[in-house]
Symmetry: C2
Subunit: 415 residues, 2 copies
Amino acid sequence: MSDTSDRRFQEQLAVYAEVAVRIGLNLQPGQQLLVNASTDAAPLARLIAAEAYRAGAELVDVLWSDPGVTLARFRHAPTESFDLHPTWRGEAFRQVGERGDAVLYLHSPNPNLLAGQDPEKLRLHQRATDRAMRPYNEARDRQRSNWTIVSVPNYAWAASVFPDLPTEAGRRRLWEAIFEAVRLNEGDPVAAWNNHIADLNRVLVHLNGRRYARLHYRAPGTDLEVGLPEEHRWMSARFLTDRGTPYIANLPTEEVFTSPHSGHTEGTVAASLPLSYGGILIENFGLRFEAGQVVEAWAESGYETLMGILATDEGARRLGEVALVPHASPISQSGLLYYDTLFDENAACHLALGRGFTFTVDDWQGKSDEEIAAAGINRSLTHIDFMVGSSEMDIDGVRADGSVEAIMRGGEWAF
Amino acid sequence: MSDTSDRRFQEQLAVYAEVAVRIGLNLQPGQQLLVNASTDAAPLARLIAAEAYRAGAELVDVLWSDPGVTLARFRHAPTESFDLHPTWRGEAFRQVGERGDAVLYLHSPNPNLLAGQDPEKLRLHQRATDRAMRPYNEARDRQRSNWTIVSVPNYAWAASVFPDLPTEAGRRRLWEAIFEAVRLNEGDPVAAWNNHIADLNRVLVHLNGRRYARLHYRAPGTDLEVGLPEEHRWMSARFLTDRGTPYIANLPTEEVFTSPHSGHTEGTVAASLPLSYGGILIENFGLRFEAGQVVEAWAESGYETLMGILATDEGARRLGEVALVPHASPISQSGLLYYDTLFDENAACHLALGRGFTFTVDDWQGKSDEEIAAAGINRSLTHIDFMVGSSEMDIDGVRADGSVEAIMRGGEWAF
């Protein structure tokens, strides 16, 4: 009941719904909208439905899931039944892809929900879900659908971020942190987002114009050179559907990113924030690269988990993403660790071990898998972000002719 | 949070889930279960999922809906769009019918939710829903699926039943009333239900053996004779699937019922409880019948609404159901008006204006629509229950030879 008792909170929630529908999805009149939500997210889902209809949606429906029902299945259903997936859930998504409609994901992470459950159940469940979602995911890859992810606190997530607060206070505090991160506290959030996207676009235009051959990172504990594919393209989370509708695939978003060349990383990097992986915290860790590959790793805690990540496959010891986030990002300024990639990756410059993005290669739609791999894109099955940025980080761009230009100084854009 | 703070309440909720799955559905090992629930009902839905897996369910999934999302549609979507229905919702049900699986409806009535909305939207919405549900409803009519309805309080419903209580206290009080009505407060609720069903069966065997030609009701304000079709059969809410699984289509259930002959009612009846219809309360009303048809009606309040019901179609002025409920029924003893048919019809002997039940005619599956009508079954499009029973009601059965036998005395079984 506390959600309904606070008028200012309700107003902010309505603005959050507006930003999700207008800025994130950029929902077009006559589109249908499928909202994918946990039952935890019902108050926001209702506001999103109202806002989507105001934006001209023909039909809004919510495909709900519930963490308690999921947990009951893992606790009580036999392993072999996990090959089953309710086909109507995949069918709901398939129809969205077929019609070119929109999907809004209300992301309410509950990282420890399935801790301790049978890994075979988890594997079968993930495989069955992937299979059910394939038709929509393929339509999404062909840019048939505008979609976005926004986050919704729940008690379990809030307890991870604010372990010292009582449950309701923690959840409220997490709401406040999310509202700040998605720029709701600025006078006109829609205008703030339009300005922010224009800023990210200026960064993209600049970086794509310079065609850097490699990036040079320097910070305490870090002296790293990361080679970029010749045909690399910097991107933001702003995409275009095949009908030309721009949308932003997640809110917040602060990064510009591309895929590095998986064979051309040299030197040492120190993580600037802990990495939360499978419920284990890896702290004060670093990596040394030679010819693109990790040849040494260290960690103050969680070393075995880090070794496990690196052993996933051959590509897990190589980089798959370089992302630049200024230290002035609102998420960075919050000083919080969210234990959720959607936030933590937008708090600092980061790298990822593992799989790179096909779509950051110029003209990727016309290239074969072999050509993508030959361009230097990491083909690992995993993708693990870790944070390296701070107010002490300098980054240079090095062009093919050896000339050096400042990209970041003291964690901020330098061009 | 109050739902999780009270251990005894949690225990009762778990027993309610057990009774719903074991007694209501009688879920069979290897069946899949589709739960149809409002997001309000999440705590119970989780317990039902766990109980269904314990009973051997292969897969439990919940098809959720949310009253706030529904209301947003009525408020903001254009009228012509109400012809649309998310096809995946109908598809989820169609698959249940095809596989012979089970459906559990968590009924959480919110009678005033759509008060004041455009009647044309309501009409289109109902038509689109009926169309989407048709494949499952047809499978259900062929007894392909075991299904049951159990109720879940929400704040709006609780406020109707307990207008003087604060919201949370009202909801808790309504839970207690429901727990009492479904016999959870007896030592062994499962055994209590088995006994109760055996009692109802004894009543059915007796009544079906007597082949009464008509019933004669006497109470203050009531002197009514209701003719029964020659081929009538008395039934309870306990049905059998085509694979021989017995199940109970709603909990609570206290009634035995059949369809009267629509042309053979004579005399006067006084309602013993108010009738809530479309948000209007019809109080202290009565009807006079000649040759099966209402020829006079009166009401202390809600007279125009009563006239509206009677004007729906020709059959709305004739009876379609006679149901017998002893005054000792736990729902009757609660003294509450629930504003919901599932409860109120199980509180007292009742009649219904409008459509009769095809399946109370012997060998109905082998009969044409014309033969069903010729048997005296009312073919109206409406069906409105109203309560006539009390501790002052006597009912006699009159056989074809004119002999008279006591069925009820002072509101209780007399045989």
